[in-house]
Symmetry: C2
Subunit: 306 residues, 2 copies
């Protein structure tokens, strides 16, 4: 029984209207792993870093009890580096620098102790690496969640469609759902995407919440309105980690639990954006999470009976 | 006991990716009145039209049992005319023609039979007309809802701030909330706007739903994801009409009922956009509305208890 997360572990440099940080630990697998660790105890990461990724950097991940045996350290290599500047609206950003470094030749290696995982999160990576991961697992996991982005739709659509046939849940944003399906209406987009393989589709809409499609149903989750969004980096990954972490915890995969998982994912994402980088996700308490979930309940609950 | 709606009754010409209509009955008070009529029986309109607005046009309103004694017909005048073209995304539009015509000198006259109204919806009009309406009512209504738009913030901010001090609920969209408050965060925007007078603020976000702020609480209502949006014209007015119509029906003003009212408003708006102009709002059944409300409940309900 374990949850495997495959994705980037990296350094970010981030500039927002609230400030600037030159080098901070980031990466999809880092955010997803931290978020999942609050809901589930057996989180295993597979990634690759350079030897510039020191013990203090790694401790951000290990201090949450996450297994890093699958994080390969490439001697003489440099870790993936991303630098971005967010605009005032926090919904749009400019990528200033993308240095793939060791991630360019990432060949995911699954430690023997990671085999027989029940839950798999394929973070946003080239579809080739996502396919390789699936191929290297001895058994098909109970649930495979895949995150991707417009970049792979632009340059590797064929591979992306191949891996989509092998996953249970796809998480993308609204613009990506429109691009992948060729439909503007998200209802029509979902119909088309659900025929590509996934049984469930989650459309992430940032400050507007998320939509879950599947089993002939649709669920709309709110985003928590926040006074200050310090840094949106990692919000989508934290969402995915919270989502799959909740399902790993409750074990039963159905639409009811999927809906709750979307709320947990949204809650973890709401913490993520309240501080720079991983800061807020490093030291949450179970009370913090319980209170945040209560906020989501109050935010969206109404009671009509006439 | 009555609901008074003051706003435009007009002709629209509309072009969307689904088709084109040269002349169709529209106007804020028309949409709001039709929407409210499904929830409350004593709906009174105040507006002005030209004598180009014929009996067939008026019957669209009267056939729903709405009182039109307060719709002044200006002899030799032409009705307000608006023409717009919606883009593919249905969220942006170009105004092609705005002919104020008789609306330019609109001087709202309140028939004696309309006095002592309990509920008042001040539709999107120049703040001077909204103030005049309030001045001409013998008694302050139990609940005053005001709709406005960026245009009045641009050219009549002083007057708008005056009328805001006299209303209970303000409905605007997210861009307008940001403009009026000078804050990007909707949480901060709401704090500032609630100090301008209204006790409650509703931020309409179109396909992303609506936020209700007030009583130190916040509620997020989903929008119903639709396969086809034929014509968004009148959606905001239908929302406002459904909202105040529900409150007029249940009579008690508190946050719990406000939340339900937002859901009813959203439901009426979701019908509005499914056909051109007022078409869909002319012939709904109580089953249609009940089923639509059930859809909203299924769309947003989740049950977390751990």
């Amino acid at each position: 029984m374990s949850l495997l997360i495959v994705g980037s572990v990296a350094f970010d440099a981030i500039e927002t209207p609230f400030g600037k940080i030159d080098k901070i630990v980031g990466g999809a697998a880092t955010f997803a792993g931290l978020a999942a660790s609050y809901l589930y105890n057996h989180v295993n990461l597979v990634s690759v870093v350079g030897d510039d990724f020191g013990p203090d950097d790694m401790s951000i991940i290990t201090s949450r009890g996450i297994n890093t045996d699958g994080i390969e350290v490439m001697k003489g290599g440099k870790s993936f580096f991303w630098s971005g500047r967010y605009h005032n609206d926090m919904n749009s950003r400019d990528t200033l620098v993308t240095e793939l470094n060791v991630l360019a030749d990432f060949d995911p290696k699954i430690p023997a102790s990671y085999q027989n995982c029940d839950y798999l999160l394929l973070g946003n990576l080239t579809p080739i690496v996502q396919i390789a991961t699936l191929d290297r697992l001895d058994m098909k996991p109970k649930l495979v969640v895949l995150d991707t982005m417009n970049f792979w739709m632009d340059i590797a659509l064929g591979d992306l469609k191949k891996v989509l046939r092998r996953v249970d849940v796809l998480t993308i944003n609204d613009a990506e759902a429109r691009q992948l399906s060729g439909e503007y209406s998200l209802v029509k987009a979902a119909e088309i995407i659900l025929q590509m393989g996934p049984k469930y589709l989650i459309i992430k809409k940032g400050e507007h919440g998320a939509l879950l499609f599947g089993d002939g149903q649709v669920f709309s989750a709110p985003a928590l309105p926040l006074a200050d969004v310090y840094d949106p980096t990692g919000a989508g990954d934290s969402f995915a980690g919270g989502f799959i972490g909740y399902l790993a915890k409750v074990k039963t995969i159905n639409f009811t639990n999927m809906k709750n998982a979307v709320i947990y994912g949204s809650a973890l994402a709401s913490f993520c954006v309240e501080r720079f980088g991983t800061e807020k996700l490093q030291n949450l308490t179970s009370d913090d999470i319980r209170n945040r979930i209560s906020q989501f309940i109050r935010l969206s609950k109404f009671d009509i009976n006439d």
